[in-house]
Amino acid sequence: MEALFAVTLGILTTSGVYLLLRGRTFSVILGLTLLSHAVNIFLFSMGRLQQGSPALIGFTDHPGDPLPQALVLTAIVIGFAMTAFTVVLALKAAVELRSDHVDGEDPNEDRL
């Protein structure tokens, strides 16, 4: 379980960072989404990965920690709102600047 988690996190983060460094806003937003997925899963796993441990004191010797779930819920909501905002902003910028490059213009286009 831990290994699966670690590999998933690694793949998500790598893809996220790779896409973040691309030039077009769409890939960048996709990269941000993947990165925030990775971060959220990481935060989620901080309550430790264990089975059969309800978050109730007195039922088991090692009650589960409910707080990371609350934290990750907050982080998901905020991340969702931010992604929505960025998509709209990227569309606005693409229309106004007539380019979907993150700098508003493609530095290689002029040279062709």
């Binding site: 941000l32 971060v39 430790r48 707080l67 902003l89 106004e96 700098d103």
Partner: protein, 506 residues
């Protein structure tokens, strides 16, 4: 437990929510916004008095006891920053009411949410809550940057939003790491656990600390992370840019709070390694600020680099980590925030009096009310360059004096004075480009008396800060003293043993 502590968050929240309803007129929005900010000024001065006693004031939200509930903490530093924010917001809002707020929808609601985020980030005693308030202030700032709309704003806004979103992701990563290690995110509770860290956990805590430094470095504009700032601040409308003068200082406040308190305990405190990185980076930031100011092509760009320069000075003096440098840095913080705001407003005021070119230096253009504008610029520039008799001189002098005893202080002397010289050259170039042998005006432009009055009042406040420096300095020395004893912060909290029956907590 005084409910006054909640008002700096509650007032802008309620006002902002009220302003989101489809309101009948802009006049109503201005009144609600103005009244709220005025109340905030009063509240923050009451809090300033309350904090002056030196006790930590705690406010447990929903009466949930810390470390399980979220707690607001007021100390001298938080009260000082609250007062500075409220004062700055008051002037920025009044300036915006002269026409900027008409350029787009919902300016006043966004302004209130921005204040709510800033005040919350200043007061909170919980790291996750700090993250949430950072997000509140950021999303408001994203929209405020774009307020008015233009190509430059969309372009700068995109950079600003994207880098801050990456920052938020890293922030959560750092918090997750800390929570996974320590099982708490309450600052006082966390500080105790970090202080007793075992040797094998140490690198993990350090990793979390450096991730946090990265996040706050983006907010504060520390050297490798500052390239979003000049374009963003140049593109924003004048009152928004003036309000943003406090934003980098929120990053610095977070650095101060987290690394002084949370990572500052134990025999071999973790913050030593943080300071070791912060010191060269902040000196480089300082120098880059000076060079950037020299290379700037417009006054807003110049001011943006002066903001970077002030960040460099502040972080360098924090990294020296003595009580003297800290209190001098706090004085410089007040001075630099105020003056950066004055400069952004002045750039707008003078720029609109010119025939063409707005605030660009290389455009040779006539200027209306030449002597008045030149006089205002001259006084503000003297204070910014750190020449007597205005507050810039006192703050710089105090800072240099405070670093004499420190073995590494000489580095700060060299870089600070070199950058100061560059700033002086840049400001002279700006002034001579604008006012020296300006051609005859082709169009007559009306001067808005209220805008002029606001800038004059702000400059006189800078003057007042230098005349009445002594009481402010006394307060700041006490603030630094309080910061140097973080163990009192922890003692202000009820202990964990008092809250839970034994055995149910690992």
């Amino acid at each position: 437990m005084s409910h006054l502590l909640l008002l700096p968050i509650l007032l802008p929240l309620l006002a902002g929510a009220l302003l989101l309803f489809p309101t009948p007129s802009l006049v109503f929005q201005r009144w609600v916004g103005g009244l709220t900010v005025f109340l905030l000024v009063i509240v923050s001065f009451l809090l300033l008095q309350e904090a002056a006693s030196g006790d930590y004031q705690l406010y447990a939200l929903g009466n949930w006891a810390p470390p399980f509930g979220i707690v607001l903490v007021l100390d001298r530093l938080a009260a000082l920053m609250l007062a500075l924010t409220a004062g700055l917001a008051f002037f920025c809002l009044l300036y915006a009411c002269q026409g900027t707020d008409r350029l787009g929808a919902n300016f006043h609601a966004l302004f209130q949410f921005q204040l709510m985020g800033i005040n919350g980030a200043l007061l909170t005693g919980d790291l996750f809550n700090l993250f949430v308030f950072f997000e509140v202030l950021l999303i408001a700032s994203y929209a405020l940057i774009l307020h008015g709309g233009s190509r430059a704003r969309s372009r700068a806004g995109l950079h600003y939003v994207l880098i801050n979103l990456v920052g938020s992701a890293i922030f959560i990563l750092a918090l997750a790491l800390l929570y996974g290690l320590a099982g708490t995110l309450n600052m006082a509770d966390l500080a105790q656990i970090v202080g007793q860290v075992s040797q094998e956990d140490r690198p993990l805590y350090l990793a979390a600390g450096f991730l946090l430094l990265l996040v706050f470095g983006i907010k504060a504009a520390l050297l490798p992370l500052l390239f979003w700032l000049p374009r963003t601040y140049t593109a924003a409308s004048a009152p928004v840019a003036a309000l943003f003068a406090i934003m980098t200082k929120i990053g610095i406040y977070a650095i101060l709070r987290v690394f002084w308190l949370v990572f500052g305990f134990g025999d071999d405190p973790l913050n030593e390694s943080i300071w070791a990185w912060l010191w060269p980076l902040s000196l480089a930031t300082l120098l880059l600020g000076g060079l950037g100011a020299l290379g700037a092509s417009s006054m807003r760009m110049l001011t943006a680099y002066l903001v970077i320069l002030s960040v460099g000075i502040l972080l360098a003096s924090i990294a020296l980590a003595t009580q003297e440098t800290l209190s001098a840095a706090l004085f410089y913080l007040i001075h630099s925030t105020g003056l950066a705001a004055i400069f952004f407003l002045l750039a707008d005021l003078v720029g609109r009096q010119r025939d063409q070119g707005y605030d660009r230096f290389y455009v040779h253009a006539g200027i209306n009310h030449r002597w008045l504008m030149a006089g205002l610029f001259f006084i503000a520039a003297i204070s910014m360059a750190g020449l007597p008799p205005l507050s810039g001189f006192i703050s710089k002098l105090w800072l240099l004096q405070a670093t004499t005893s420190h073995p590494q202080g000489l580095w700060l002397w060299a870089v600070l004075l070199a950058a100061g010289f560059l700033v002086l050259v840049a400001l002279s170039r700006c002034g001579s480009g604008w006012f020296w042998r300006a051609p005859e005006c082709e169009k007559h432009k009306k001067l808005n008396k209220r805008e002029l009055g606001l800038v004059v009042v702000m400059i006189s406040l800078s003057f007042l800060l230098s005349v009445k420096a002594q009481p402010v300095m006394d307060y700041l020395e006490l603030t630094a003293q309080q910061l140097m004893q973080p163990e009192n912060y922890i003692q202000a909290f009820p202990g964990r043993e008092a809250l839970l029956p034994r055995g149910h907590w690992q």
